[in-house]
C-alpha cells in the first residue's frame, strides 16, 4: 500500500490549513456563498438535504486498517454514528457541521487521508479494480498507475476550473470490475507481444442524463508517456468542452459532438507538443510507488481445502469468496447489503470491525468497491470461518454478492437535495422480498438512482431503476439490459413507470420472465439479450 512520505504529508497538511482558513473567511463574511461553494466542493463538502455532507476520498478504493478505523471514529465523533460507502469507492458522512470540517480534515490527515477533489469541477478521485494486486487475471497491479494519476491530478493548476467534473478509472484485466468505460477517461493497462506495458485510452463515457460508453481513442500509449497523454486529453477538454450549458459540459458531449476521430486528432496534436514539456514523471518515481504495492508476505504450503460443514458458511463462501492468485488465500467481499437494509451504510462499530479483520487476518488491507461493499483482498482460507462468524455477529454476513439483494442504491430523496424520488426504501423492499430467491435467480445486478444524475448506475444495471418526480409524486422507471463490465451496455426503459409498491412487483415480474425463459447457464442479462424486451414488456404491461 502507498504510504505518504513527508512531501505528501506536507501537502495534505497545507490543505487542512487552507480549508480552515477558507471556512474562517466564510464565517467572517469575507467570502460569499457563491464564492465559497466551489471551494468547499473542491474539498468534498456539500450542502445536502439535511445538513452538510462530507465526502472523503479513498484513492482507488484502497485503505489500511488505521485509515478504516479513523473512518469509523469520525462517524462516531462528528457524525451520527455511521457512514455511507459510495459508487465512487468513497465514503460520505451525512451530518457534518461546517465548524467541524477543519478538525475532521486534520484527523483524516493524521492517517494520510483527505477530501481533496472529491467534488467540484476538477479531476476526482481515481477508481480502480477492487481486486487489484490479488486478482489472477491482471497484467499488472493498476494501483501504482492510479497513484501516479492521483499525484499528477492533485491541485493541478490548469485543471481546477474545468467545464464539469472529471472521473477516471484504471484497470489492468480484461474483466472490468470498475465500470471503466463509463468514466470520462477509462484506462486499461495491457501488454504487447514484447511483454511491455501500455495504456489503452477510452474517453467520453459516463452516465447521467446522456449515458455514453466511452469510445477507444488510442490502443497503446507507452506507459512512460501516459501521464502526458492524460494531460493532453484534459487540455483539449478544458479549452473546448462546452461551458454554455451545465448539462452538456461533460467531456462525453465534447467527444460526441466533435466525433471521436476529431477529438483524438486534437489530443494527438497536443500530446505531440506536450511530450517536449517534461510532464511525465520519471521511471524512478513509478518504481518508488510500485515498490509500495508489492505482494504481502504470503505463506506458502497453505491448504486450499476448507471445512464447509456449516451450510450457511458454505453458502457465504460460494457467493462472497473469490479466487486469489496465491494458493491457500482468498478474496473476501463483505456485503454491506443486508436484506431490508440500507445499501452501503455501515455503523461506526461495523467500520471498526472491518479494520480489526484487516489487521488480524488481511495483511492490514481493505478495499471499497464501486458496488458499495468492502473487500478483504488477502485472507488465508483457513481464517475464513472465523472472519465469517465475526461478520455474522455484526450484521455483515449476508451471502449475496452480485445477487439481486446486492443492490447499488444512491442516497436518493432521503438525503440528496437533487433527488426526485427515494432510492433506499425501494432497495430495502426489493432485497427483503427477493432474499429467499437469490440462489434460484443467480447473478443479477440491480441498480437504483433517485434522479437522472445516475449516481446509482441505473443505466448499467441488469435491472435498473430510475426515480422520477411525476407531478410531485415519486415514480420509478424500470430499465433492463445494462452492464458495467467488459460487455458494457446501457439499459433500455421498459415503458411507463411504477409507484413505489408497483416497482417492487415489476422487478419480481421481470425475474419471473427470466426464470421461465432461461436456458442452461444463462444469467438474467444473457436471457434478456437473447429474448429481447418484448416478453418482459408483455409480462409487465400486457
Amino acid at each position: 500500500m502507498y504510504v505518504y512520505d513527508q512531501f505528501d504529508q506536507a501537502m495534505v497538511d497545507a490543505r487542512v490549513a487552507e480549508f480552515r482558513d477558507q471556512v474562517r473567511r466564510r464565517l467572517e463574511g469575507h467570502l460569499s456563498e457563491d464564492q465559497f461553494k466551489p471551494l468547499r466542493l473542491m474539498n468534498g463538502l456539500y450542502l445536502q438535504l439535511h445538513a452538510y455532507m462530507l465526502r472523503v476520498a479513498i484513492p482507488y478504493g484502497t485503505l489500511n486498517s488505521a485509515q478504516m478505523r479513523m473512518l469509523g471514529q469520525i462517524a462516531a465523533k462528528y457524525d451520527r454514528g455511521y457512514g455511507h460507502f459510495t459508487t465512487r469507492q468513497n465514503i460520505q458522512y451525512n451530518w457534518i457541521r461546517l465548524e467541524d470540517a477543519g478538525d475532521i480534515l486534520a484527523d483524516l490527515a493524521s492517517v494520510g487521508m483527505h477530501a481533496i477533489q472529491t467534488s467540484g469541477n476538477c479531476i476526482r478521485n481515481t477508481t480502480s479494480d477492487q481486486w487489484a494486486g490479488a486478482a489472477a487475471d491482471e497484467v499488472a497491479d493498476p494501483r501504482p498507475y492510479a497513484e501516479l494519476i492521483r499525484q499528477w491530478s492533485t491541485f493541478h493548476p490548469e485543471f481546477c476550473a474545468l467545464p464539469r467534473k472529471f472521473k477516471m478509472a484504471v484497470i489492468a484485466a480484461e474483466a472490468d470490475r470498475a465500470a471503466m468505460r463509463l468514466h470520462d477517461i477509462g484506462i486499461r493497462l495491457v501488454k504487447n507481444a514484447a511483454g511491455e506495458l501500455g495504456a489503452q485510452f477510452y474517453v467520453g463515457g459516463g452516465m447521467g442524463r446522456t449515458p455514453m460508453i466511452a469510445p477507444p481513442i488510442r490502443d497503446w500509449v507507452p506507459i512512460d508517456q501516459f501521464i502526458t497523454y492524460c494531460e493532453a486529453c484534459l487540455r483539449v477538454y478544458n479549452r473546448h468542452g462546452r461551458r454554455d450549458n451545465k448539462y452538456k459540459a461533460r467531456i462525453k458531449i465534447l467527444v460526441h459532438e466533435l466525433g471521436a476521430a476529431e477529438y483524438t486528432r486534437q489530443v494527438e496534436e497536443e500530446f505531440a507538443h506536450l511530450l517536449s514539456q517534461g510532464i511525465e514523471p520519471p521511471a524512478a518515481e513509478l518504481a518508488r510507488i510500485a515498490a509500495q504495492f508489492t505482494d504481502p508476505p504470503f505463506e506458502t504450503g497453505l491448504p486450499d481445502s476448507m471445512d464447509l460443514a456449516d451450510p450457511a458458511f458454505a453458502r457465504w463462501v460460494r457467493v462472497n469468496v473469490s479466487g486469489h492468485k496465491a494458493p491457500g488465500y482468498a478474496v473476501v467481499t463483505v456485503s454491506l447489503k443486508p436484506a431490508g437494509g440500507i445499501p452501503g451504510d455501515a455503523s461506526a462499530a461495523q467500520i471498526e470491525l472491518l479494520a480489526d479483520l484487516a489487521r488480524d487476518h488481511g495483511f492490514d488491507e481493505l478495499r471499497v468497491t464501486h458496488t458499495q461493499n468492502v473487500v478483504l483482498p488477502h485472507v488465508r482460507k483457513a481464517d475464513l470461518y472465523a472472519i465469517w462468524q465475526r461478520l455474522e455477529a455484526t450484521g455483515m454476513g449476508s451471502a449475496n454478492i452480485d445477487r439481486i439483494g446486492d443492490i447499488i442504491a444512491c442516497p436518493g430523496l432521503d438525503y440528496c437535495s437533487l433527488a426526485n424520488a427515494r432510492s433506499i426504501p425501494v432497495a430495502q423492499a426489493i432485497s427483503a422480498r427477493m432474499a429467499a430467491r437469490e440462489d434460484e435467480i443467480g447473478e443479477l445486478k440491480l441498480k437504483i438512482s433517485g434522479c437522472i444524475n445516475a449516481c446509482g448506475h441505473h443505466h448499467a444495471g441488469h435491472i435498473g431503476i430510475l426515480g422520477v418526480d411525476r407531478k410531485g409524486v415519486e415514480n420509478y422507471q424500470l430499465l433492463l439490459g445494462g452492464s458495467e463490465g467488459a460487455d458494457c451496455s446501457l439499459g433500455t426503459i421498459t415503458g411507463p413507470g411504477f409507484d413505489e409498491e408497483g416497482i417492487v412487483g415489476a422487478v419480481e415480474t421481470a425475474t419471473e420472465v427470466y426464470l421461465a425463459r432461461r436456458e442452461a447457464g444463462e444469467r438474467f442479462l444473457d436471457t434478456y439479450r437473447r429474448i429481447g424486451m418484448a416478453p418482459f414488456k408483455e409480462a409487465l404491461y400486457g
Binding site: 473567511r25 491541485f155 493548476p157 485543471f159 481546477c160 487540455r235 461551458r243 524512478a284
Partner: protein, 145 residues
C-alpha cells in the same frame, strides 16, 4: 480598468494599448493583447517577439480556459507580462501563479494578507506547470531543488 494589485516582475509596468487577439495579427505595432476565454492563444505564437503584455480575462473564476491559455503561451517561450484580470479571487491565486501569471489586476481588490497567505500556502507542487517549480517527483529523485 482595474489596477494591477500584485506584480511579480522587476521590469516596468507595461501600459501599452490593448488590442484583441483577432486584431493583434494585423496591427504590426501592437504589443499588448487581451485574451478572452474563447480565444485561440496559439494565434499569438507567430508574434511573440513583439508581445510585451498579455492580459487574460476571467469573466467568471469558474471558467478555467484562461489557465490553459497562460500555460500555452509560457510553453511557447513567452516571457513578457502575463496579467490575470476580471473575477480573480484569493483562492485562485496559487493556481494562476503556477500557470504562469505574474501580474494580477482583480476587479475587486483582494485582502492583502489573505492573498499573501494564499500565495505562500503550498510547500511544493505535485506536477510541473509554467512557474518553473520542480515537481515533487523531481525533489524525491534529487533533480532540482
Amino acid at each position: 480598468m482595474a489596477e494591477v494589485q500584485f506584480r511579480f516582475r522587476n521590469d516596468e509596468l507595461v501600459e501599452d494599448a490593448m488590442v484583441t487577439v483577432d486584431a493583434f495579427g494585423q496591427q504590426a505595432n501592437a504589443s499588448a493583447v487581451r485574451i478572452e476565454p474563447g480565444d485561440e492563444p496559439r494565434d499569438l505564437l507567430p508574434h511573440l517577439e513583439r508581445l510585451r503584455l498579455v492580459e487574460v480575462n476571467f469573466p467568471a473564476f469558474t471558467d478555467g480556459r484562461g489557465l490553459s491559455a497562460a500555460r500555452i503561451l509560457r510553453e511557447a517561450g513567452y516571457a513578457g507580462e502575463l496579467r490575470a484580470v476580471g473575477d480573480v479571487l484569493v483562492d485562485q491565486l496559487a493556481a494562476l501563479r503556477r500557470c504562469g501569471f505574474d501580474a494580477f489586476a482583480p476587479e475587486v481588490p483582494l485582502n492583502e494578507d489573505d492573498a499573501r497567505a494564499a500565495l505562500a500556502r503550498w510547500p511544493a507542487a505535485y506536477q510541473p506547470a509554467a512557474d518553473g517549480r520542480a515537481p515533487l517527483w523531481a525533489l524525491r529523485h534529487g533533480q532540482g531543488a
